[in-house]
């Protein structure tokens, strides 16, 4: 029982982590809370659904479709809606982000209907493994493993490649990046692409674990993932993962021990967010961006 909850917590936390990475990276380079990021995850789920149920693609091909489609959508949102506002007051950027978020939710609502649809989960993922009394669904096991692999790739990109170093430099100082001879806008596009691709993977995991898709599913998950990014320390990829795991575990464990709090489970992440802002606003692994202010 305990082990099972641990695995569930790990699995849920990994999904939050995948989405939180996108928030934290975009915040790092633009100081923007990308409200539409949760909805990109929703679009990823929908594309996966579309690929499997409508185009009848094999599961992995549908996943690829979701990843590529979401990455393109994320980059397009930056190019169309955010880039023209680079020198505008910050509030304009935030309002536009809310507009993009609301647009995606309602466009999907109009064209695909607001009713949650069942996601046809491939049978391999529905298998249940047994290890000496433990019953573990394959999907719950595969999520953390794949997340760890993706995280390894992201960290390699960030710390070992030229573009990764540029992304990290951009988080502190635009001029340094320009000195490196790299176009800052190109880096930002890459960040949106990477973040959105990860969100799409998170979205696929989500619709496999809670097998349904609906246009509003990104709202709460997005909010929680952002809370996770702040808890871990906004701007830090490792922090996003840590924060995601903390919030995922808390949800699973608290409900396991206090089932009567089930109705409030969506409030936990919010309470975490408030507490971290009160006591350690830079988060657990946080970077103090304000140092470069003057």
């Amino acid at each position: 029982m305990f082990m099972q909850q641990m695995i569930n917590g790990f699995s849920l936390g990994s999904m939050y982590a995948l989405i939180a990475i996108g928030y934290t990276m975009v915040y790092g380079v633009l100081r923007l809370i990308n409200f539409a990021h949760g909805d990109i995850m929703m679009v990823g789920g929908f594309l996966g659904f579309f690929g499997v149920a409508v185009l009848e693609l094999p599961f992995l091909a549908a996943v690829l479709l979701a990843i590529v489609g979401s990455a393109l959508l994320g980059m397009a949102s930056d190019r169309i809606a955010y880039r023209p506002l680079r020198s505008a007051p910050k509030i304009s950027l935030l309002i536009t982000a809310i507009g993009v978020s609301f647009f995606l939710e309602n466009a999907f609502n109009v064209f695909f209907g607001g009713v949650p649809r069942a996601f046809p989960v491939p049978s391999v993922l529905e298998d249940i493994l047994e290890f000496g009394g433990l019953t573990i669904p394959v999907s719950a096991l595969i999520v953390p493993i794949l997340t760890a692999m993706l995280l390894a790739i992201i960290l390699w990109v960030l710390f070992k490649t030229k573009y990764g170093m540029a992304i990290r430099a951009l988080a502190f100082d635009v001029d340094t990046v320009n000195l490196m001879g790299i176009d800052a806008n190109r880096i930002i596009t890459i960040v949106f692409g990477m973040g959105s691709a990860l969100a799409a993977v998170g979205g696929i995991f989500w619709v496999v674990n809670y097998p349904s898709v609906d246009p509003m599913m990104g709202v709460l998950v997005g909010l929680k993932a952002f809370a996770a990014a702040v808890v871990g320390g906004i701007g830090s990829v490792g922090g996003a993962v840590l924060g995601g795991l903390i919030i995922g575990f808390t949800e699973v464990v608290v409900i396991a021990f206090f089932p009567e709090l089930g109705g409030y489970k969506d409030a936990f992440a919010f309470i975490f967010l408030i507490l971290i802002l009160l006591f350690k606003p830079t988060g657990i692994l946080g970077i103090d961006f304000e140092k470069s202010r003057f």
Binding site: A88, S92, L94, T96, F102, L223, A227, G263, L273
Partner: protein
Amino acid sequence: MTVKKDQWINLSFVFGVIGFIGIANSFFDEYTIRILNNIAIFTILAVSYNLINGVTGQFSLEPNGFVAIGAYVTALLLVSPEAKQYQYAIVDPYPFVLSLHANFVVALVLSGFFATCLALVLSFPVFRVRGDYLAIVTLGFGFIIKIFAINYPEVTNGSLGLNDIPEFSNLYWTGGIAIIAVITVLNIVNSKFGRAMKAVRDDEDAAIAMGVNTFKAKTFAFCTSAFFEGVGGGLLAALLTSISPDLFDFFFTFQLLIIIVLGGLGSTTGAIVGTILVMGGSEWMRFLDEPMKFFGYTTPAMPGLRMVVFSLILIFIMLFAREGIMGKKELKDLFKGRKRSAK
């Protein structure tokens, strides 16, 4: 230009509105009066929402949460104990819920008071640190309020909501409070508090370097917004006569955001103009959700298309007309003319 002239412009405006309310009340039909009531309530909400977003420049998404609080407080205080007895269908209410009762004015003031208290509580985590956490915390707050409204049926009657709220709101109440709200907000803006808020918006570091307590400026703006949103929620509850958690979803806030952005962030006059346009236009745009005929083809009804159009309008304004209709100007600036040229 003297202060006197400003006052004349504003005073004649106030009397114009009062006269209009009198005429509207006796001659207009029920549908029109309903729209006017909505415009009055949304004016209250928009000018106060503009104070934190436009004047202080702190992006916030709080209105639906505080309006919900105001609506529930007023509803709980206005619904008679007998009516409550049979309304609570999910679980029995707490005894104190049944005994709550107050007149309309007290209910509205308490609605504003509760919203203000919660705003004060939220101010500490979000205004002590920099960053745009206000937006995400207020967005989350709206969800939390909804979660509580659904999961706490002993007080709120859960997803069924509260019904049989006496219909106290009429044009005199909504219009009168709208005038009070506008005057209050303008008086704040034209004082050292308003100057400090604008300074925070323009350059927070420079404001601090002038000895401005920026935490206080932001908190005052946020709490004032919350107060009027609570009162507006109370008026709304007493206008609609029934409320439920779904009424206060994010679309509510989104509408107000479009209003203040369209009118011009930072302009109180703009918030009023935006309210009239959006509330009027929103009625007119209902056709979008209905089946439509194009060249003999009929498209099926698309509920929600209006929302898509709304979000596109918002993005469009931000990208191509960021100043909105009024920019940061007020009514009095329109009468100034171009007498003095800069330099």
